[in-house]
C-alpha cells in the first residue's frame, strides 16, 4: 500500500495481529492493507471473529500490531499514540461510561482528559447536550440511562473536542430503532462538518447509509467499495417470490432446499431470494418471480458464501398450519415490579402449538423479565400463567418439564467439552439408558457437533455455541422452546441458518418463543408482541403490525418503521395521559 497520503484518514500497511499462543493462536488481523479516505463515513462489516474490534483498537492505538504499520491521520500510531489520540474520538463497544457518575460528571471527566479549558466547557456541553437531547438528564447517573441514551452520552464524550476521525465500535447493538436513527442523523451532521467516521455494525441495513463499506472476514479485506455499487453487481440475481397456495415459511423451505438458492429471507408478504450467478428463476409450481434490487444482506451472503461450506439445511417439509393448534401458553395480566420499578406492565398473549412467537423490543424493554416469568425462573408480581394447561404459579415443576430454555449468552459450561455438556444436560433432565443414548446421538447428528465433541464449549465458534445450547435445551424433547436473544452478537449468516432450524422445529409441532432486538427477525414469527419500557405496544401477526403503521409517507412500512411509528404513538398517549 502507498505511503500515507493527505487524503487518507486511516492506512493499514501489511498489518498482522495475533492473539493467544500455541494451539489457540488466532490471526485476528492477517496481513491487512487498506486505506480509508478522509471526510467520509466508512462502514466496517463482517461475520463474528472477522477482526472488526481488533481493527478499531489498532486504529485507536490500544493494540500494537505484531507486523506492519498503522497510520492514523498521517501519523504512525505506534510512535505518536498520544498525539493521535488527541485528534481522534473513540467509542468502545460498551460506550466506556462510568455508570455511577452522572451524565454531567462523565462529560466533565472526558473534557478534562481532553485538556479542555474550563472556560470553553459550558458552551461545548450545551451544544452536545442539545445534539444528543440529554439536557434534561444531566444529573442522572449514566447507569440509569436507557441503552439509546447511554449510546448518545458515549458519543458526546467522544465528540467533546471535535475529532478529525471518529471510531465507533458497534454503537447500535441492542439499541432501540429510534435511537439508531438518531445516531445516523448525528453521523450525517458530523460528515457534513468534515469529520471522518469509521463505524462497525452488525446491522446490514446500516451499510447502505455509509459512503463506503469495508467487508472483513478472518482478518482480511473481502471487499471495499461503495455499498450501492456492490448491490448493483448483484443485478438480476435477486427476486421477490410469492406463492399464493402455501405459507411464506413453507415456500422459504422449498426454496432453500435448492442448491441454486444462496439465500431466502422472509419478507412482509413474500420471500426475498438471492440466486447463484447466471441462474434463471427456478421452475417451482405456482410461484411468481419479480426482479428486485439487491439489499446489502445479499452482498454479505454472496461475498461470504464462496468462502464457507454451505450450512446444512433441513429438508423441505410440508407445513402444518400453526393456527389450527391448541393453546399451549396463556398469559393474562402479567406484572412484575422490582421495588418501585414496574418492569413488566399488564402483558397478555396466547401462543398456539407449532407457532413461532416473538417478543420484540430494545434492551430494557422487559423481554427477558417476561421470559423468566414464563419459564418459572422469576415469580410474577401478579397475573395468570398457563403453560400447557398447567398453572405455572401453582404447579411449577410440572409446567417446567414442558419447557426447553436457552438463556442469553447460552449458559454452557465453558470449561467442559461438548460431549460433557451434553451428558450433563441429559443427566439434569433425567434421561437414562436407551433414550439417553438415542438423544445424545440425535444431538450430535442434528447439530453436526461430532467433530467438536472433545473441544471445550468455551472455545467453540459462536455459531456452534448456539447450536450446542439449542441441542442441550432440546434433549428432553420439550413441546415448548424458549430462546432468549439467541441471535444477539451472531453474524447474519449464522442468524439465517439458525432461523431455518427454528422454522423446521416449529413446522414439526414444537412451539417456539423467542426474544430479539433485530426487527428484521420479526418476519420469521407467526405472532409478535412489541414491547417498550415494559408495556405491550402492539400484538398480532407481522403484517397486522405493519398495517398499523401505514401512512402517506410510508405506504409499505418495514417492521422497523412500524416499531418507530408505534413508539411515537405510545409516547403521545403517555404524554396526553400526563
Amino acid at each position: 500500500m502507498a505511503e500515507p497520503a493527505g487524503a487518507d484518514a486511516l492506512v493499514f500497511a501489511g498489518v498482522s495481529k495475533v492473539f493467544g499462543t500455541g494451539t489457540t493462536r488466532i490471526n485476528a488481523i492477517d496481513d491487512l492493507s487498506l486505506a480509508i479516505k478522509a471526510g467520509r463515513v466508512t462502514g466496517l462489516l463482517g461475520p463474528d471473529g472477522a477482526g472488526k474490534t481488533t481493527m478499531m483498537r489498532l486504529a485507536a492505538g490500544l493494540l500494537r500490531p505484531d507486523r506492519g504499520r498503522v497510520h492514523v491521520l498521517g501519523e504512525d500510531i505506534t510512535k505518536t499514540a498520544r498525539s493521535v489520540q488527541s485528534r481522534i474520538g473513540y467509542m468502545p463497544q460498551r460506550f466506556g461510561l462510568y455508570e455511577d457518575l452522572t451524565v454531567q460528571e462523565n462529560l466533565d471527566l472526558y473534557a478534562r482528559l481532553q485538556g479542555f479549558a474550563a472556560a470553553a466547557r459550558p458552551a461545548r456541553f450545551a451544544e452536545l447536550l442539545k445534539l444528543t437531547a440529554l439536557g434534561p438528564f444531566r444529573a442522572r447517573p449514566a447507569g440509569k440511562l436507557s441503552g439509546g441514551m447511554k449510546q448518545k452520552l458515549g458519543l458526546a464524550c467522544a465528540l467533546l473536542r471535535v475529532p478529525e476521525l471518529l471510531l465507533l465500535d458497534e454503537p447500535t447493538v441492542g439499541v432501540d430503532p429510534v435511537s439508531r436513527r438518531e445516531l445516523w442523523y448525528i453521523i450525517a451532521g458530523l460528515r457534513a462538518s468534515g469529520v471522518s467516521v469509521l463505524i462497525s455494525t452488525a446491522y446490514l441495513d446500516e451499510a447502505e447509509r455509509c459512503d463506503e463499506v469495508l467487508l472483513l472476514d478472518r482478518g482480511r479485506v473481502l471487499a471495499q467499495a461503495d455499498p450501492a455499487a456492490m448491490e448493483a453487481e448483484l443485478h438480476g440475481r435477486c427476486f421477490k417470490v410469492t406463492q399464493p397456495t402455501t405459507t411464506r415459511r413453507a415456500l422459504q423451505q422449498a426454496l432453500l432446499a435448492r442448491a441454486e438458492v444462496l439465500e431466502a429471507r422472509l419478507e412482509a408478504t413474500s420471500v426475498h431470494v438471492l440466486l447463484a450467478p447466471a441462474t434463471p428463476p427456478l421452475e417451482l409450481p405456482d410461484t411468481q418471480w419479480q426482479d428486485v434490487p439487491a439489499q446489502f444482506a445479499d452482498v454479505f451472503v454472496d461475498r461470504l458464501h464462496a468462502r464457507r461450506p454451505a450450512p446444512a439445511r433441513a429438508e423441505a417439509i410440508t407445513a402444518i398450519s400453526p393456527l389450527a393448534g391448541e393453546t399451549v401458553l396463556e398469559v393474562r395480566g402479567l406484572n412484575r415490579f422490582f421495588g418501585d420499578f414496574h418492569a413488566v406492565k399488564d402483558i397478555e398473549f396466547t401462543v398456539r402449538r407449532g407457532e413461532v412467537f416473538g417478543l420484540l423490543g430494545a434492551n430494557g424493554a422487559g423481554k427477558t423479565t417476561t421470559f423468566r416469568m414464563l419459564c418459572g425462573l422469576l415469580p410474577a408480581s401478579s397475573g395468570t400463567l398457563l403453560v400447557a394447561g398447567q398453572n405455572l404459579l401453582k404447579a411449577p415443576a410440572e409446567a417446567r418439564r414442558q419447557i426447553g430454555y436457552v438463556a442469553q449468552k447460552f449458559s454452557l459450561y465453558g470449561t467442559l467439552s461438548v460431549a460433557q455438556n451434553l451428558a450433563f444436560f441429559a443427566a439434569a433432565y433425567g434421561l437414562r439408558g436407551e433414550r439417553r443414548a438415542q438423544r445424545l446421538a440425535w444431538a450430535e447428528e442434528e447439530f453436526e457437533l461430532r467433530p467438536f465433541q472433545a473441544m471445550n464449549a468455551g472455545d467453540l465458534p459462536l455459531g456452534y455455541k448456539q447450536r450446542l445450547a439449542l441441542a442441550c435445551a432440546l434433549l428432553h424433547e420439550p413441546p415448548i422452546l424458549f430462546l432468549d436473544e439467541p441471535t444477539s452478537g451472531v453474524d447474519p449468516l449464522t442468524r439465517s441458518e439458525f432461523w431455518q432450524r427454528i422454522n423446521h422445529y416449529a413446522a414439526t409441532g414444537t412451539t417456539v418463543l423467542v426474544t430479539t432486538h433485530f426487527m428484521d427477525e420479526a418476519e420469521y414469527c407467526d405472532h409478535l408482541l412489541l414491547m417498550s419500557l415494559g408495556a405491550a405496544l402492539a400484538a398480532g401477526t407481522p403484517s397486522e403490525i405493519r398495517a398499523q403503521a401505514v401512512s402517506a409517507e410510508t405506504p409499505d412500512p418495514s417492521m422497523e418503521d412500524a416499531f418507530i411509528a408505534l413508539i411515537a404513538a405510545h409516547e403521545q398517549t403517555i404524554r396526553r395521559a400526563a
Binding site: L62, R64, R94, E99, D100, L109, R112, L113, G115
Partner: protein
C-alpha cells in the same frame, strides 16, 4: 504529567469512592468492626483459667499452696476428689490443667527429700498451656517463700527471681493487637480495594475508553493512587484515634513518626494493589490474589497476632519479604516503646525500598494498550 487531566481523574475517583458504599465501608466501618472485635472479643491473656486441684490427702501443708493459687487472679480453682474425675473434666475442657498433690506430699515436705507436685496441662492450646505453666510456677514460688518465712529459714534457691514486664506493663493484649490492626486495615484499603476498583474499570470497559483518551499511563496510575492514599490515611487516622481514645492504648512515640511510617506503608500497599490489577483484569481474580498475597500474610505472618520468633525458620524467612512485618514492627514500637530509632529506621528504609520497587514495577509493566 498534566495537571488538568490528573485533576479530572482524581475528581472522578473521589466521586466514585463517595458513591460506593463498599469503599467507605472498608475504609471506615471495617476498622471500627475489627478494633471492636480485637479490642473486646479476642484476648490472649490467661485470666480465670479453670484449674482442678486434686489433693489426695488435704492437710495444713497443702492448704496454703491451694490458697496461694486461689488468690491469684489468673486461676479459678476447683477442688476435686480424685485424679479420675479430674481427667474427665480435663478431657471435656472444663478445666485447662490439673494440679496434683500426692498423698506423700506433706511427708516429703517435712523431710529433706525433694517434694514433688504434679501439674498436668492441656497442651491442645500451646499458648494457654505455656501461660498456665508459668503462672503456676510463679504461685509455687510465692508459696515456697511463704513457707520459708514461716519456718524462718532461708529459701534454698540460689537466685531470687524478680519479675518486671516492660513495654506492656499491664499485660493487656489490646495494647499489643490494636496497633497491628492498623497494618491490616491499610493493607485492605491499599491492596484489596485498589486492585478491585482497577479490575472493575477493565470489566466495565471504562479502562478502554480512558486509554483511548490522550492521557499518559502515569496520570492514570497517579489518578488512582492519590485518592486511595488519602482514603487509606483517613482509615489510619480513624484507627489511631479509636486505639488511643477508646481502647486507651498508650502512644509512647511521636505522631509524626507514625504518620510517616504509615504513608510509606500505604505507598507499598497501593503499589501491590496496582501491580495485582495489572495482572488480573477481573474483580474476582484480583480479589483472590489480593487476599492470598497481601491480606492473609499480613494477618498471619506479620507478627500482628503470632510471634514471628516462634515460627519455624523457613516461615521466618518468608516473613522477611512481607511489607506488613516491618510496618507492624514499627507500629508496636511507636505505640508501646516509643521512637526506638534502631528498630524504626531500618524498617522504614525497607518499606521505602519496597514502595519504590512495587510502584516502579507497576509503572514499567503498565502501558497504555490492551494487549
Amino acid at each position: 504529567m498534566n495537571g488538568r487531566r490528573l485533576v479530572g481523574l482524581m475528581i472522578k475517583e473521589t466521586q466514585q469512592i463517595l458513591r460506593d458504599p463498599s469503599a467507605l465501608g472498608i475504609a471506615f466501618v471495617l476498622p471500627l468492626f475489627l478494633l471492636l472485635l480485637f479490642g473486646y472479643g479476642v484476648s490472649l491473656n490467661a485470666k480465670h483459667v479453670p484449674i482442678g486441684v486434686v489433693a489426695d490427702h488435704p492437710n495444713p501443708i497443702t492448704e496454703p499452696l491451694v490458697a496461694a493459687l486461689r488468690h491469684s487472679r489468673y486461676f479459678d480453682i476447683r477442688p476435686l476428689s480424685g485424679l479420675g474425675p479430674a481427667r474427665d473434666l480435663l478431657s471435656r475442657r472444663e478445666i485447662d490443667a490439673i494440679l496434683w498433690l500426692r498423698n506423700d506430699f506433706a511427708r516429703q515436705t517435712l523431710t529433706e527429700a525433694p517434694a514433688t507436685i504434679g501439674l498436668i496441662v492441656n497442651g491442645t492450646d500451646a499458648n494457654t498451656a505455656r501461660l498456665v505453666e508459668g503462672y503456676v510456677l510463679q504461685a509455687w514460688m510465692i508459696w515456697l517463700s511463704q513457707q520459708n518465712q514461716v519456718a524462718s529459714r532461708p529459701l534454698g534457691l540460689p537466685v531470687a527471681l524478680q519479675f518486671r514486664i516492660w513495654f506492656n506493663p499491664a499485660l493487656r493484649s489490646q495494647d499489643y493487637l490494636v496497633p497491628g490492626l492498623i497494618a491490616i486495615i491499610m493493607t485492605l484499603i491499599g491492596a484489596l480495594l485498589t486492585a478491585l476498583v482497577v479490575a472493575r474499570e477493565w470489566e466495565r470497559g471504562t479502562m478502554e475508553a480512558l486509554m483511548a483518551a490522550p492521557v499518559t499511563m502515569a496520570e492514570i496510575l497517579a489518578g488512582k493512587l492519590l485518592p486511595y492514599f488519602v482514603l487509606g490515611m483517613g482509615g489510619m487516622a480513624l484507627s489511631v484515634a479509636l486505639a488511643v481514645f477508646v481502647f486507651a492504648v498508650p502512644l509512647q512515640g511521636s505522631l509524626l513518626i507514625l504518620a510517616l511510617a504509615s504513608a510509606l506503608f500505604m505507598l507499598v500497599a497501593l503499589g501491590m494493589g496496582l501491580l495485582i490489577s495489572s495482572l488480573a483484569r477481573n474483580q474476582f481474580v484480583a480479589g483472590q490474589i489480593a487476599i492470598v498475597v497481601t491480606f492473609l500474610p499480613a494477618f498471619i505472618l506479620s507478627g500482628f497476632v503470632f510471634d514471628i520468633r516462634s515460627m519455624p525458620a523457613p516461615v521466618q524467612m518468608i516473613t522477611r519479604i512481607l511489607p506488613a512485618r516491618y510496618f507492624v514492627s514499627i507500629l508496636q514500637s511507636v505505640f508501646l516503646a516509643g521512637d526506638v530509632w534502631p528498630v524504626i529506621l531500618p524498617d522504614m528504609v525497607i518499606l521505602a525500598l519496597m514502595a519504590v520497587f512495587f510502584l516502579g514495577v507497576t509503572l514499567a509493566r503498565s502501558h497504555k494498550r490492551l494487549d
